[in-house]
Point group: C2
Chain length 511, copies 2
């Protein structure tokens, strides 16, 4: 009996293994569909420079199926891409070197695919980039061929030059059991993006409104060239092919991130390669490419990657977001300097909120809000690098107890490449460089909280001292006067005033 | 500025996201390459019905790179498939409904791909299915197109009608730090497959030999039709397309697993569909398909899936494997009855080994050997369903303490579809049906161990009692004799013999 061999398409692969993309069961799928469509909308708004204004609605149709509609004011999808952007797996705009929420070009298509395999109905997309027309498509996926199938299309007049995208699809889900996670997710989003406005109408008609609290957005990320530190044989080969003919030094300067002539020359001198050698020669000598890669990975004279391809939230916006949703008594926000792992730049932002609307966590838990490229991570917390760091830090040194005090932690990692372990984007793998930044960010924020708490404790002790003074001084004065046989009680008010001045000065010194 | 949209190939996707397939870093990649090639070899042997005889060698070449060579006596790859089987992602023989180690058609190709992007060198494959010729190919992957590139090919005479495959490739790895995991992996394999013989020569020249201890293999799995319980719109649509024209009842009987005419009629009566209706009509009415799927998923009259597509180890082989590698004092093996989740049949096999070569685990740990379709799972134990169950069971009820006693647990789940969470095959996701079987398997094995331990304790107490008797009886007899003024000491030997008989009977009763 001979083995049967065959090829399957990328769509077929992810259809067969959909649990990897977060489509395990109806509950989880409901959550995943909401977040994937929402994240696409957010990316579309931010890369267009528009303050996100997103409307999401879920409702029951045809008895038991759910219908989701997500509408955004983003830049829209150009007409010629709409069909493939929603009907072909591994097709998208996210395959570039800059920070986006989506990176796999999978999420939206998986939602479409899941809708299709549970209800046999197409996705309905309406989009416009702001011109005179808007385009309406009904699309299904030919899973075996990984191609879009058009089930209907029309062109409409675009009144008011609207730009954005509306996605509508039906699927078998379970909203009742997914509700808590979805609302939690939206609340997480509202914290990290106080500049977004999100409206959500759930199938029971409940209206959730997350109001915009800031009118400015973080600077959008720019696309960058690959960094020589993170290059591998395949990347180098592709870059050589794309470059065509020219000298090695020109190739280095033009193809890589932050490589100038001076640095390129220094590198080539060290590796004993001729700067004027033609690049096409490299492709011919196959053993040369891995050597060059190795030299590039190991050379320590490159400039660190420029974080312009990243778009962190920024301390002020993060603080606005936290204050808006949690109303804490105190917030400490820390933005770490850009760092890199394997040629990928990343920035860690950390915050600790204390008191007010923040409650102590339940037994054995920690209030931890995790984000990666502005995506809230709600699953698999115990595998996450942040949790590992929180467990490691000796909190008693900061007079903090994360398990019994009303404290919440916020950790945002942004990078051109988040080290996810699954396409479901659930947790951040354990990279030493990321771990280091999270740890020092948390420690810095913890120091701020320690200062605040010790100041608070001293203020309270000063106040108690003053109260005690004012309570006993009149009695002591009277008693002392009587004891000496004097008649006139001395002016202890003066003494109190002096003491009060002292207290005030002490408090000001602390402030 | 318009967004740039583009498609990437499946090879490119997995190249970009290789950490998902276990290629995070040089250490992990070294381990992953070994296990992926080994698993392919095992599958090739078992599906051909050959007792696996596998030779794996790692050595340093060209300074720092590693070269791996894996040779098996499996059924070999037919000539026309060799290039694609090693040079095209998502091409393979694993896309069928039966139990195999590989399921993604990814592992071997990822090894080739990783070798290529770190050393720019091709994989060298020699294979024969046992005919007059053997075929030798040097292959690289065109990652952007997901196509094999032939770098060399030749045909050799196949002396002795050898069948099997030899794979040789170079990669940048880190054996020193991967060694412990690789050896641990091989030892896990030797436990679950005592019918395999594995030789491994590591780069330092150390020779590891896992000798075959059983001359028979579990029955190889058969390919089956899809079960109606687990069908979705896409599967039904494909089956309808493949079936062509014919009546609905014939379609059901011929396209599904364990559906006979009687059951099919019962189902159609319940769903009020005409058994003689032409199937091609179904494809025309699109809303009918999801309704039919729903009815099929919910109908409770189907026969449970036949486990012939599964290939569990069997209690006797599992016990041989455990005894061979761990030399315990006692082993309890339990094979649960076949069960299903979402239309996928699965079988859970559980064993508990005690004492002898089994040591108590280190502080806070548990000795747990996890397997899925005979694949050892060594990473991410804390997410695994087995660990969850072990934490849940009230072990004191069985007078067992997994954390302080010399106990090891073995859990093997085999299924046509293991609910993995990543393509790296690291742990089994949490399915209630699987959890239930693991729990009851463990409890049954625990009861056996409890019996053994209490028998052991009673034996020991009986022995102690007898020893005490024999120690004091002569003295008591003598003393009593003297006390009565008698001369002749009574025949207490008789009494002891009687007592010994009692002990023996008691022990026999317990046995």
């Amino acid at each position: 009996m001979e083995e049967r061999f065959r090829a399957i398409s990328a769509a077929d692969f992810f259809y067969r293994n959909r649990e990897m993309a977060g489509f395990d069961n109806p509950v989880r799928s409901t959550y995943t569909i909401c977040r994937e469509l929402l994240e696409n909308s957010m990316d579309a708004c931010e890369s267009g420079g528009y303050l996100p204004d997103i409307y999401m609605r879920l409702r029951y149709v045809d008895g038991e199926a759910l219908e989701i509609k997500v509408e955004d004011n983003g830049k829209g999808v150009p007409r010629r891409y709409i069909k493939r952007a929603f009907g072909q797996v591994l097709f998208g705009s996210k395959y570039t070197l800059r920070q986006t929420r989506g990176i796999f070009g999978l999420g939206g298509k998986m939602a479409v695919l899941y809708g299709q395999i549970t209800t046999n109905s197409p996705v309905h997309v309406i989009s416009s980039t702001g011109g005179m027309e808007r385009y309406s498509y009904k699309i299904m996926v030919d899973i075996e061929r990984n191609e879009p199938i058009t089930k209907g299309e029309s062109i409409e007049r675009n009144h008011g030059q609207w730009h954005g995208t509306v996605v509508k699809l039906k699927f078998q889900g379970d909203y009742a059991r997914a509700r808590a996670k979805i609302v939690d997710y939206l609340r997480h989003v509202a914290i990290i993006e106080p500049y977004s406005q999100i409206m959500f109408v759930d199938p029971d008609g409940v209206f959730y409104f997350f109001r915009r609290k800031a009118e400015r957005m973080p600077r959008p990320p720019l696309e960058v060239l690959p960094h020589p530190q993170g290059v591998d044989v395949e990347t180098l080969r592709r870059l050589i092919e794309r470059f065509g003919q020219g000298s090695l030094i020109d190739f280095l300067v033009e193809s890589f991130h932050r490589v100038g002539r001076r640095i390129a020359l220094k590198f080539l001198r060290k590796t004993k390669l001729d700067p004027e050698m033609d690049v096409s020669e490299l492709a011919k000598k196959e053993e040369l490419i891995p050597k060059l890669v190795k030299a590039m990975n190991e050379f320590d004279g490159w400039l660190p990657p420029d974080p312009s391809c990243l778009s962190p939230i920024g301390s002020d916006l993060l603080e606005i977001g936290i204050r808006k949703e949690l109303r804490p008594e105190f917030v400490a926000v820390v933005q770490r300097k850009p760092s890199t792992y394997g040629g990928h730049p990343f920035i860690v932002e950390v915050a600790i909120a204390y008191g007010g609307g923040v409650h102590a966590p339940s037994q054995g838990e920690v209030n931890l809000y995790r984000y990666a490229n502005k995506i809230p991570l709600l699953y698999d917390v115990h595998n996450d690098v942040s949790m590992k760091v929180i467990r490691k830090i000796k909190w008693w040194r900061y007079k903090i107890s994360p398990e019994s005090m009303p404290i919440a932690f916020f950790i945002h990692v942004c990078s051109t490449k988040i080290p996810y372990k699954t396409v479901g984007k659930e947790y951040i793998a354990d990279r030493p460089e990321v771990e280091y930044e999270v740890e020092w960010g948390l420690k810095e924020a913890a120091r701020k909280l320690k200062l605040y708490l010790s100041k608070k404790r001293r203020e309270e002790s000063l106040k108690r001292r003053r109260a005690a003074l004012l309570k006993y001084l009149p009695h002591i004065a009277r008693f002392a006067t009587e004891l000496c046989g004097e008649k006139k009680i001395p002016d202890y008010e003066k003494l109190v005033a002096k003491e009060e001045l002292k207290v005030k000065t002490a408090l000001q010194r602390l402030a």
